[in-house]
Point group: C2
Chain length 340, copies 2
């Protein structure tokens, strides 16, 4: 895309309508943390094509949906998903309420604080921890527990609140899309009601635009007669892999024009997005920056990871289907708002 056509996009020609003055930015001012290159160009071209009324691929504003995975796409997912750290951090409080759990696995291991043993916990053991810490309480109690944790907990590497570990280039991309009439959705394998508690403040994404793995809630009456919703250990939506397009159909009812992921859990969402008519953009973030964040794959020979698997097969499909692979190392000038 030439500098001229870029400027046209940015000056609002793309929106096909009046654009607030602050959006009339020069090419350099848009996506400032993105380096010049194929990935940034593909994004600018996609927005231009879908928002310019004279383009054959113009998309009316109500249909402009962009779907973003969260863990490893909008924020750091290593060494563990933040929500899993939340659940582990909640175990002492759960055991205080039910002291008999102190002698029962896997709670015993978690209480001991043995990081190596915790990292080796089996999936059924992990599920016991998720059920004990994420269900059985009212949705209001859950919300206050999560909010308290978000203000106090620190990540193990940068020693910052987890919500600081969002990628600045992605925040800029969300804002850029919204400024061009797109509604930005999170479509995450993480817990829907967990993510909803900070998505508005952190990403500018309101609760109703967060689609995630969700458990059932049951309608009950409290002692004062008021209705309460109690979180149940019953899965309603497993929003991962094929569950992502299924969840999008269920929760949004429209096919996205743009989807952004980083792992095999996002494959079907990207396929489904690209299979729609017109201009569609699918993107994958490759974590190849050990210095500023992490480097893991195993695509392109990067070391494999327990979370966020970007396999070589996924990379090959991306090449074949013309998905855009974004290299954290090469395409991002800056990774976090707080640092480099």
């Amino acid at each position: 895309m030439s500098v001229l056509s870029r400027r046209l996009v940015l000056l609002g020609m793309a929106a096909g309508a009046a654009v607030p003055t602050h959006l009339a930015l020069s090419a350099e001012q848009v996506l400032p943390s993105w380096r010049d290159g194929a990935a940034r160009d593909a994004i600018l071209r996609f927005v231009q094509e879908t928002t310019d009324r004279s383009s054959p691929h113009f998309v009316p504003e109500p249909e402009r949906i962009a779907a973003f995975d969260q863990d490893g796409t909008l924020w750091v997912e290593r060494p563990m998903y933040s929500q899993v750290i939340y659940c582990l951090d909640r175990v002492p409080a759960v055991v205080r309420a039910k002291p008999e759990l102190a002698q029962v696995e896997p709670f015993k291991t978690v209480l001991r604080g043995d990081h190596a043993a915790i990292a080796r916990l089996s999936m059924p053991d992990l599920e016991k921890i998720l059920v004990a810490t994420l269900t059985g309480m009212s949705v209001d109690q859950f919300a206050s527990e999560v909010k308290a944790w978000l203000t106090s907990a620190k990540d193990p590497r940068w020693h910052r609140p987890f919500t600081d570990l969002t990628y600045l280039p992605m925040i800029e991309l969300l804002q850029y899309l919204r400024a061009n009439g797109y509604r930005t959705y999170i479509v995450t394998g993480g817990g829907q009601d967990f993510v909803r508690l900070y998505a508005e403040a952190v990403y500018g994404i309101p609760p109703e635009q967060v689609v995630g793995t969700a458990g059932a809630v049951d309608y009950h009456y409290a002692k004062d007669g008021k209705p309460v919703l109690i979180k149940q250990p019953k899965l309603l939506l497993n929003d991962d892999k094929a569950g992502k397009p299924e969840g999008i159909y269920f929760m949004i009812g429209r096919r996205p024009y743009l989807a952004f992921g980083n792992s095999v859990g996002d494959r079907e969402m990207l396929e489904y997005t690209k299979a729609g008519a017109g201009a569609r953009l699918a993107l994958l973030l490759l974590h190849d920056d050990a210095k500023r964040e992490y480097a893991y794959g195993p695509a392109k020979g990067l070391p494999p990871s327990k979370v966020g698997t970007f396999t070589q097969a996924l990379y090959d499909e991306a090449m074949k289907q013309e998905w855009v692979v974004v290299s954290m190392q090469n395409d991002w000038e800056r990774v976090f708002a707080f640092g480099q």
Copy 2:
């Protein structure tokens, strides 16, 4: 509410922000199909209280959610829910595709066109018809079947497309709320993906703001390798009674400030809405107008109905909880856009 304070609301003082000129209507121009009275006053007062920045009950715009039942609240539900009529109308096509069903109940009865026998069908028999006509196809095929039916089918009383049988006062109310920064949602026991196919054109409500009873879809690959979503006979969300607040939590993640229903299926949604802090408005439509529409209850001695049961117990709860009961006969100047 005095005429003066009404005018202030309508002139945009209520919105706490610039209001487009076309919204600066006189009191008589707003909700023109509503008669002056307690119901209309309660609506205007609620909007004033929640949108006036100086009001103690001011609600920021992103939190302004209004939830509407559909059948019997936004459009006619008698003698049968329109979607059930759709399913019955689809039976011949289903039998053409699977001729062996012609000799099997309940399909045999439906094919015979025996209205009395059809009205007597048991719930398990009805479910067989719903499964046969609403599942097993791709979501795109389903959409084209429903759209074709919507343009050709006529209701048995007025002989008009079903989408003509929406209540004009309710359309005006949806528009009035949206003009005041509310997002209007449908929260229906009807099929979510059925209602989404006309809600935008008929009510101005986009697909992502329709919450309804929903079945699972499965992600498959068609012969050309493209992904398709196939509708499954597996219930994901039963959006009726307690399922309504549960569905609202799941799909929206915010408690509505206004909820409007007409039957025992809406009770929990209205309770949940009113239990929130600040100004909340719960409304119930009483069908007491046999001449212009239908009269059924059994509240207030109206004859009972197979659909949309407004029981005396619901009426009593409405009085106790200060829900507003809207009388179709007394509160509406006009019922339909096409007639009286």
